[in-house]
Amino acid sequence: MNGSIQQKVALGIGLVSFILCLAIGFIYNSVIDSIQTRNKVLQSRQVLQDLNNILVDITEAETGQRGYLLTERPRYLIPYTTSIRDIQHNLDDLQLLAKQDSILSKHLKLLETAIHSKLSELQKSIDLYRTKGKDAAMQVVLTDEGQKLMEEVRSRIGQVNDSENILLQSRRQQNLYNQQVTFVALPVSGFIIFFLLGLVYWVVSRESVQREKAQQELNQLNQVLQKNMTLLNSIIENVPGMIFLKDAKELRFQLFNKAAEDVVGFSSEEVLGKNDYDFFPKEQADQFTSKDQQTLTLKTLVNIEEEEILTKQGHTRILRTKKVPILNEKGDSAYLLGISQDITEFKRTQEHIQQLNHRLEGQVTHLNTLNKELESFSYSVSHDLRAPLRSIDGFSQAILESAEDKLDETEKDYLRRVRTSSQQMAQLIDDLLNLSQVTRAELNIDLRVNLSDIACDIATELQRLEPNRHVSFEIEEGIIVKGDSGLLKVALHNLICNAWKFTSKQSEAVISFKSYQQEDIQVFALHDNGAGFNMAYAPKLFEAFQRLHTNKEFPGTGIGLAIVQKIITRHRGKIWAEGQVDHGATFYFTLGNVQQEEARSDDA
């Protein structure tokens, strides 16, 4: 394929026009030829007609002359004169016809001469008749002069006739040929024209099919493009961030998405085509514009960490903005693309967090101070409260010993009560310290703490301290948990000592420590068949200083179970108890999955 469709069509139409012109010229030519030939044929026929007329008229004239000579009646001269006039008339006509025909005109001259000779012979005889009489005239007639002249005329006419006939024949042939050529040329040129027109039509239609196909493809491409544009637009519109575009020359807004409208309060219709000075206070507009210029000049991304903007509603928002130049194909800045994030709330939250942090720091400091105070308080309690108790107990004992003889039993009893009380108070102080230590101490997690072993050790120790008691221990073997072994030991110690204490009035005491699974959770149970308790008081069991028995029945400070609960809670476990008065008690507990970190955060 070379040359465009226009060139091809122009070439085709040019060819068609050329051939059409040739055909028209040819047809015109043959029509003209044909007309001329016909005219010439008509002319030839006229010539032949005229010649014939002349022959007839000459014969008429001779007949008139003979009649006149014979009859002497002038009446016979009438056809003679008419014929002479007609001959002249016909000769003139021939003369006219022979103007363009040299052969004819040559033949005609000879004929004219012959005719004139004949006519003058006739006229001469008539003149002789009139002047010299009938005989003189007859003398002339009787000579074969007249006959010869007549033969001459006939011969001349025959000559012209023959020549005209030949001419007529050739003209007819010419005419026929012309007609034949025209008959052939017309359909041939028509066929060529149709062929060329068909060719042009084929080329044009083929081209138009291709063009239509191309147009369809173009339409499809356009649709895809349109779809993509719509998608792109909807992305830009729906992006949850402010997007705007300015032209590089005058920094007028070309694009302003929905998020931008929401932040600034101006609609895109209000903004498009205008610049910052149309909306914002001059100082702000100056600042925006200077950053725009910087972006466009340096052709690099400019990051604006924070900038204030006054909205249509008169509120100040804080934006974090990135400005990017969009370069044209020459590498010059054509547009400025801006992406902003409204960080007002973020800033406010940040400030609020800072305030909170500050306050928290203050509270932590305060808490640390309190903690230190508490520590020094418990240190003092441990150290200083015990000293007077030691004095009370010690000197009471000293009196009991040194004045044993002087004191009666009542006085001794009083002194013993003083000692018991001071020892109880010392125990109370120790328990309180233990409780506070359990609360404060950091958890040291051991992955394997053997509760069975701990329980056995405690049982052995208790039996060693009070060998007179008969208590049977049932301790399940191999109970291993994760936790702070020191604290778990304290917890188990308190629970088992409790059980030991409350079974003291049982002749066949049984204390058991077992574990079982309940819904994927391991539950530990310490059961005794001792004094038990009323379930109504179950919730009070674990509160510090809460006692369900008098000191006389069962001595104690009421802190032991509070310590146990604290330890279990710190292990993210739960503790609860079931009991019935005089039918024993069971303490259940679980242990959570404690991690060293958790334990620390728990301590904080």
Partner: protein
């Protein structure tokens, strides 16, 4: 008792001093008891400074029994000084105190105490404790001269 060297008791509480002396007596400990009231006095005595400038430093005590909570200079500070000085670093020091705070116990051992005894409130238990201490530190224990 075999060794009649002095026992140094650093104790600010007069009741405790009295009770301790009574406990010594009950256990038949007849050693000379030197009672010092605070940390400063203890250091003066041990290093022959201040009021004890004339003291013969060769006369070393058999054992030092010291409370932690002392006026002026605390028991732990005194212990530290004792262990830092070549003249006193091998002296047996028993911390005799009311505190059962873990950190006190750990610190005392870190600073090189030989024993840590918590004074029981029950006087009979206290006498027992002093008896054990005396048995160990006055009779059984040997240390570099």
């Amino acid at each position: 008792m075999m060794h009649n060297k002095a026992i140094v008791l650093v104790e600010d509480n007069e009741d405790d001093e009295k009770l301790t002396l009574m406990a010594f007596e009950k256990n038949g400990i007849a050693n000379k008891i030197i009672v010092l009231r605070d940390g400063e006095e203890a250091l003066d005595y041990l290093f022959g400074t201040g009021p004890y400038a004339d003291r013969d430093l060769g006369d070393k005590p058999q054992v030092i029994m010291m409370d932690l909570k002392l006026p002026k200079i605390g028991g732990l500070e005194v212990l530290k000084k004792i262990r830092e000085d070549d003249r006193t670093k091998y002296l047996p020091v028993v911390i005799l105190t009311s505190s059962k705070e873990d950190q006190d116990i750990i610190q005392a051992y870190n600073l090189g105490t030989n024993a840590y005894v918590r004074k029981p409130v029950d006087f009979i238990h206290f006498i027992e404790a002093i008896k054990q201490l005396g048995l160990f530190w006055l009779i059984l224990n040997e240390y570099p001269r």
